[in-house]
Amino acid sequence: MFNKDIIVEIFKEIAKTMDENKALLTELDAAIGDADHGINMTKGFTAVKNKLESIAEEDCSAILKTVAMTFISTTGGASGPLFGTAFLKASSSVVGKDALSNDDLLLLFESAIKGIQMRGKAQKGEKTMLDSLIPAYDAMKKSLDIGDSLIDALNKAEIAALEGVEFTKTIIATKGRASYLSERSIGHQDPGATSCYLILKTINNVLKNRESLVE
C-alpha cells in the first residue's frame, strides 16, 4: 500500500510545501533564531526534488538514502544534518523494501526520530523539532495499536504534531539557536517543529488524495 511511488510523490509535495511556507518559517526563525530556516528547508528539499527523477527506480531504502545525502550536502545549518540523519536512519530501517507496511512505517518513523536524537542530543520539551515529531509518533503508534487505518493514524499524528508546535510556544528553548534567548524564547513557536508538522501534513495530504482516487 505504501510503495516507493508514494515516497517520491511525497518528497515532491514536501518541496512544494516548504516553498509555500518559506516566508513563514523564516519569520518564525527571525524571532528566535537567525532567520534562515525557510531558506534552509527550501534549499534542501528543492535539491531533493531535483534529484528524484534519477532515483525513482530504486527501492525505498535507496531513495531515502539519496534524499538524506542530498539534504545533508545542500542544506547546512542545524536542519541539514538533523533532517539528513533522520532520512539516513529511516533509510537503514527499510533496507531492500519496495513497499512499506504499517509496521515498517512505524519503525521508519521511530528510526528517524532516533537519528535526530543521536545527532542533536535533544529530548522532548527543549523546543525543537522533536516536540512535534515525538507526540506525532506516539499518536500514530497508539492509533495503529488500536486498529485504526493508516490514514486515521496519520491524521492523529498530524493533530498531535500541531499540538506539539503550539506547545513549543509555551517553553524555553534549551537546544539550538533559540536557547541563547533564554526567557525571551517563550511565546514563539519553534520553526523546526513547524516544518516537521508541515511535512506530516503533506504526507497526509498525499495519502488522502491517493485514497480518494482509489475510492
Binding site: 524571532a31 532567520a35 531558506i39 545533508i72 550536502s73 547546512g76 541539514g80 539557536r177 536557547s179 533564554s182
Partner: protein, 330 residues
Amino acid sequence: MKKLINNPANVVNEMLEGIVSAHPDYVKRVVGFDVLQRTHSSKKVGLISGGGSGHEPSHGGFVGKGMLDAAVAGDVFTSPTPDQVFEGIKAADNGKGVLLVIKNYTGDILNFEMAAELAEADGIKVEQVVVNDDIAVEDSTYTTGRRGTAGTVFIHKIAGAAAERGQNITSVKKVAEKVISNVRTMGMSLSSCTIPAVGKPGFVLAEDEMEIGLGIHGEPGIRKEKIKSADEITSELVKKIINDLQLQKNDEVAVMINGLGATPLMELYIVNNKVNAIIKEMGVNIHKTIVGNYMTALEMAGCSITVIKLDAELKELLDDVADTPAYKQF
C-alpha cells in the same frame, strides 16, 4: 534591503572570488568548493575554521602564515555542509593531522562533526575544539551552552602560532583549549542586519533602543533596552567579562574591541578608551589590544568586547608573527 550585491544567491561565490583575486599570495580556492586554502602550505598541523558567511573577515581572512590553513564558507549565517567541510579538512591536511576550530552552534557542530567522520574514514587525523566565548547566555550542561563569537580570532591566532612552530596536533589542541577556557566575549548592537536571501532585517530596533548580549547572526540579544552612553554600555559588558573570567590584580590580558560591521572605528576606539580605563584601574596589565572588524554580522551596528587571560605560553604565541589578509603581526 540596500546592498552592493548582484544576486543574493551568488554572494558567497562572488565574495570568495573577490578574496582570491585580492590576495592571491595568501589564499587560493579549492576548485568547486567554498573553501579557501593557504596558497603556500607547509608541513605542519593543519588548522581549519569556518561557518556561515557574513562574518568577514572571518574566516577566510585569517588564512595564512601563523593562523589558518583553510576556511570553509557556508551560505550567509548558515553553517557549511559536511562535504564542504570535508574538502576543507583535506585542503588543510599536510599529513600531520587537522584541528577543527568550531564555534558552538548546533549547525556548525553537527556539520563539522559529520565532516570529521568522513575525514577519519579517509585516514586523516582530525581533532576538534569548540569555541564558546560569548557569556551573554548562561552556561548549563542541559543547554546548547554558550555561543562562539569574536574570541574565535584568538584561537586562530594562538593555536595557529603553535601549529606554525611545529607543535604536534595534541599540543596544538591543548593550546586551543587553553585559549578557549581563558577567553570571554560580550556584545551589543544598535541595529540589525539583513541576510541577502531574506531581504529584511532579523529584528527591528527603535531609534532609542539597543540589544545587549546578542550574537553574530542578526539574532536578537538577551535584552532590549534604551540606549545608553558608550561608557555605561562598555562598563556593563566589561564588568560581566571580568567577573566571568575572575580577573585579578596583576593578571595579564589581551583585549579585542570588535566591530559588528557598520560601526565606525571612531566608536570602537571610544569604547576601547573606557575598556582600557576599567581594566587598568583593576591593576590588570593589557598586553595587547586589537580594534577593528574581525567577527562581523553583515552590516550590523554595534560591537563586542573580548578579553583573554594570558599566561607566559599564550602571550608568547600571541606575539608570534602572523601574516594573513585580515590580521598581520610583525
